[in-house]
């Protein structure tokens, strides 16, 4: 018999056997176990449902556990305060240091979150459960990217607001927000790949930034250039090249991850 056919045929028997002792005692008939109906195939819609399932699971786990986002935001706030105190003494114009400070804090706070992305799955030994599911493994990647993106964007929002007050600098401008968001997409796209690569390594907390930060140089440079360009009074024409660098970086690494993530998670 085909395994699929046997699937539907045997469910009632399982429920009956498990519940029979109790039900005999209660003189109740055994309840049949509902049949399982699974969608197979389904194309892009099914793929996106699984992407969202992984992302929603990570967001729900964060809501219950508060492991990632709270750490990122507390670190971010403290880092802004420390930089603020440090530069307040020596730097004549805050705009000179603000772009660099902004991106250094975003990258370091982001690493904290990325470390937990697959690290938590390894610590709880739940990664095999994800890999056992009938899911293209790139769906796991994109689900993780969405969750990491929301955490990092949330932390960046906190950083921008705190920096706005501490450095008294007009950071909350459209082009700065756009370039920051584009830079974070690239950072998270690459960071999630490296987080998966280092997840099973004992020293992953230290290895992840060592591997990730050199690859982030284009994002860091483009992000700093965009922020500085706008703070210096320029418009879109002054930062458009750097925006394209960010967009290209994002597309390139999301595509690479889509093609290669199956190999990265081949064996855990």
């Amino acid at each position: 018999m085909n395994p699929v056919a046997s699937q539907a045929a045997n469910q009632a028997a399982v429920q009956t056997a498990i519940q029979e002792p109790d039900r005999k005692a209660e003189h109740l008939p055994p309840a049949p176990m509902p049949a399982v109906q699974m969608r197979t195939g389904g194309g892009f819609a099914a793929y996106m449902r699984k992407v969202w399932a992984v992302a929603a699971k990570d967001l729900r786990a964060e809501l219950r556990g508060r492991e990632v986002f709270s750490t990122m935001t507390v670190f971010s706030g403290l880092a802004v305060l420390i930089f603020g105190m440090a530069f307040d003494l020596r730097v004549p114009q805050a705009e000179m240091v603000v772009p660099g400070v902004l991106w250094v804090i975003i990258l370091f706070a982001g690493v904290l979150g990325l470390n937990r992305s697959f690290g938590a799955e390894m610590d709880r030994a739940t990664l095999p459960a994800l890999l056992l599911a009938p899911v293209d493994r790139s769906a796991i990647y994109f689900g993780k990217v969405i969750a990491n993106l929301l955490f990092t964007l949330g932390a960046a929002a906190v950083i921008l607001v705190v920096m706005f007050f501490i450095f008294d600098t007009p950071l909350l401008q459209g082009w700065i927000l756009l370039s920051t968001a584009l830079g974070i997409v690239g950072f998270v796209a690459v960071g999630t790949i490296f987080a998966a690569l280092t997840a099973s390594v004992r020293a992953r907390e230290s290895l992840l930034p060592v591997l990730l930060l050199p690859v982030m140089v284009p994002v860091f440079m483009a992000g700093v250039a965009c922020t500085a360009g706008i703070l210096d009074g320029g418009g879109l024409e002054k930062i458009v090249t750097w925006l394209w660098v960010l967009v290209s970086f994002d597309v390139l690494f999301l595509l690479v991850a889509y093609l290669l993530f199956d190999l990265i998670l081949e064996e855990v």
Partner: protein, 237 residues
């Protein structure tokens, strides 16, 4: 008994220089429960991981329901349920959240009734909203079993499922295994409990030096025979 749902064909696996499996041959038919015994480090868990698709063999193949794992896409994973030493559950989520998440990954339609049924089956429905981290070892293992049968897989792999279970939970697990076996599925389980291997399974296999050195029906086997096999595997059973 019916067709072979699990066929392990000359599987080899090395970790660096250490040879873990060398030409393992094993079949499990529809409706059959096979217990796999072996010392710690004999390669039982590695074999389970290979059959489930979590690890790839260096040589050889695993065929599930006539489909080779080497050639199958990810859809074949629908037909596998796995229980391991680790529960494969999210401890900061509750039981319902865990099962709903896996139901979404398996693209189950309207899974609520099925989730309720499996939680009722493992006696965890009253605790469905409690975080898994508040569960006892036995409850976690029962929830892991609920997770593994949620999508109603024809192939069930149980890697030491009785570890940490109290006698009542172990008895419940035995009922599940008996019924699953009788229900035309294929179950491969590993255990260190010889009596459970003998009474739960239709057939007992012994893995030693990376090979199956013993594979006989459990009917007629005595626990003493198995104990002798485990303690002195070189002697004929």
């Amino acid at each position: 008994m019916g067709e072979q749902l699990i066929a392990v064909d000359a599987v080899h696996k090395r970790f660096g220089r250490k040879r873990v499996l060398s030409g393992v041959q094993l079949t499990v038919e529809q409706g059959q429960v096979v217990a796999l015994l072996g010392a710690n480090g004999a390669g039982k868990s590695t074999l389970m991981r290979i059959i489930s698709g979590l690890a790839k063999p260096d040589r050889g193949d695993v065929v599930l329901g006539g489909v080779s794992l080497r050639q199958a896409g990810h859809e074949l994973r629908r037909y596998i349920g796995l229980v391991t030493h680790a529960p494969l559950l999210y401890d900061n989520l509750n039981a319902l959240d865990n099962l709903h998440f896996f139901a979404r990954l398996y693209d189950m339609q309207e899974p609520a009734a099925r989730i309720e049924a499996v939680l009722q089956a493992v006696d965890l429905w009253p605790r469905r909203r409690d975080p898994v981290r508040t569960f006892s070892r036995g409850m976690i293992q029962r929830l892991a079993i609920a997770r593994s049968i949620l999508h109603d897989p024809p192939v069930l792999l149980l890697d030491e499922p009785d570890t940490g279970l109290d006698p009542a939970s172990a008895e419940k697990l035995a009922a599940l295994i008996r019924t699953f076996g009788a229900a035309n599925r294929a179950i491969l389980l590993t255990t260190h409990n010889l009596e459970r291997a003998r009474t739960w399974a239709d057939s007992v296999a012994f893995l030693e030096d990376g090979k199956i050195v013993f594979n006989k029906p459990s009917a007629g086997l005595r626990e003493a025979d198995l104990r002798r096999l485990v303690l002195e595997p070189s002697l004929p059973a």
